[in-house]
Amino acid sequence: MDIILNERNWMNEALESLSLGKNPYETIGRYARVMHADGVPKDVMERRIEEFLLRCDSRVNLVMWQDAIKRAIAKAGKYPIAEVDGVWVTEGELNTISKIESKMQRKLLFTLVCLAKFKMAVNPDAAGWVNYGYKDICNLANITISSKRRALLINDLYRAGYISLSKRIDNTSIHIDILDDSTPNSLFVSDFRNLGNRYLMHCGEKFFECQSCGIVIHRTANHQTFCKQCAEDRHRQLANEQYKRSIA
């Protein structure tokens, strides 16, 4: 699961690059919500989505997409679009997190705080609730454990009083009880990939931010500046430039 902080920017890039992203249904839903926020009428929305689909793939069967498009337009006004640059984690929250002994629990709680703040920045009615699945939360927190241990990890935080849970048996929403906006801001999180790693980097552990894509990963060499993917791209680019220079 990817958290998109600024859906308008993301959608503009998608429209420019003619990309439907990983999940085309989500993309057209996002496009509908962006247009709804701009006050575009529903019939224009439908036409624009169809045009976008056709530009992405000229072989598209629009008849097959009618239900999905109509559903996306009908739901467009249900939730506001996300347009935030990032979220601030305060000193009080970081102090509370740092009191926990287990590193895994600290990473998880930091991720939950960031997600709750993001939800509240998008929709103030969220009121500190996070409704992502346990698996997605743990993936963002860079925690790889079994589903049973995931639930038990949540239970540890619940029993310690850092979070509370929904009363419904079929709802896994989590309320973060340690949000504290009265203390000064301390850490600005503008990238929600690898939140667990980002927290450990803030704590001074051996992690670094890729200079190209900004992802935070574990440092495996002293002078590492790029992640593996970006390093490969850069090597390829440098080799191409060197080759062009040599034949010039």
Partner: protein, 283 residues
């Protein structure tokens, strides 16, 4: 009801209170008879499909599985016990919160899991087969389908490389079918064209069909996955090998009024036929 409507039969619709709990309103008066009727209706309202029907309706199966997984996650994160563990505990050992959790678990269950006859039959079948088809006691010996000609490891790896490419293309096609917007390629046609392409490519690497059959059988049966590929590629060779390993004798039931086998009201007798290596047969 929906089936009747599709057929064009005009059927009187069921009263909503038969299948929707929300339609059952508590009577305003305190008349004990009306209250008793309301309580009875609340008990017998058919708002859930029975447990066994999840094998008929895929959506119901998905809802049920999602509910069970979510409820288990929730129970573990709240009580540190799974639903099954709580159900296995004696009721007097459960805390008040755990009892409430179990009560809501039963109330919100998307299927009716009472002990009706069909549900009991369903549970018995599940106990035997588990959640899928039962594993055979002994692994299948696929070597009976081989011709044991022998091949070089070079040929094996060359065919395997092509096979992996084929699987990758099929996988990508399946993903495209689900995610990408184009729906113009027919899956059956695409698979057939991919297979034809693969046959041509494999023929360049290995031109002995029995050697190819052995390689493909080794490749397919040594890994977990579909065996369809072997039957698509080398079915004739497999049948021939089986026949030859049985001395060229082919046994099959033939319609015979005096036969000793009875099937669906007809009588049959086993007939044997000998097939030689060139495909000529004699009875």
């Amino acid at each position: 009801m929906t089936i009747d409507k599709t057929k064009g039969i005009i059927a009187k619709p069921m009263p909503r209170c038969w299948h929707d709990r929300m339609a059952l309103h508590r009577p305003d008066s305190d008349d004990p008879e009306e209250l008793a009727r309301w309580e009875l209706n609340c008990r017998i309202v058919a708002d859930k499909k029975p447990y066994f029907m999840r094998y008929i309706y895929p959506q119901l199966m998905r809802d049920y599985n999602n509910y069970i997984n979510t409820a288990n996650e929730k129970a573990l994160s709240e009580h540190r016990l799974s639903i099954d563990e709580m159900l296995a505990m004696p009721p007097e050992e459960l805390t008040e919160e755990q009892r409430t959790c179990l009560r809501y678990y039963q109330a919100k269950m998307p299927v009716g899991n009472h002990d009706c006859v069909m549900n009991r039959i369903c549970r018995k079948v599940e106990a035997v087969f588990g959640n899928g088809i039962a594993e055979p006691d002994e692994p299948f010996d696929y070597t009976v389908m081989r011709s044991n000609i022998g091949y070089s490891s070079y040929t094996y790896y060359a065919v395997e490389r092509l096979f992996k490419q084929y699987l990758q293309k099929l996988k990508r096609f399946a993903m495209d079918k689900n995610n990408i917007i184009s729906t113009q390629d027919d899956p059956v046609d695409y698979r057939a064209s991919l297979l034809a392409f693969f046959v041509r490519e494999v023929a360049l690497v290995c031109n002995n069909s029995f050697q190819m059959a052995d390689i493909i059988l080794d490749m397919v049966y040594r890994r977990n996955g579909t065996k369809q590929f072997a039957w698509d590629m080398v079915s004739h060779e497999i049948i021939y090998n089986l026949l030859m390993s049985h001395g060229g004798k082919l046994s099959f039931p033939r319609a015979d009024p005096d036969g000793d086998i009875e099937f669906m009201g007809e009588r049959y007798s086993m007939t044997q036929m000998e097939v030689d290596a060139d495909g000529y047969y004699s009875e």
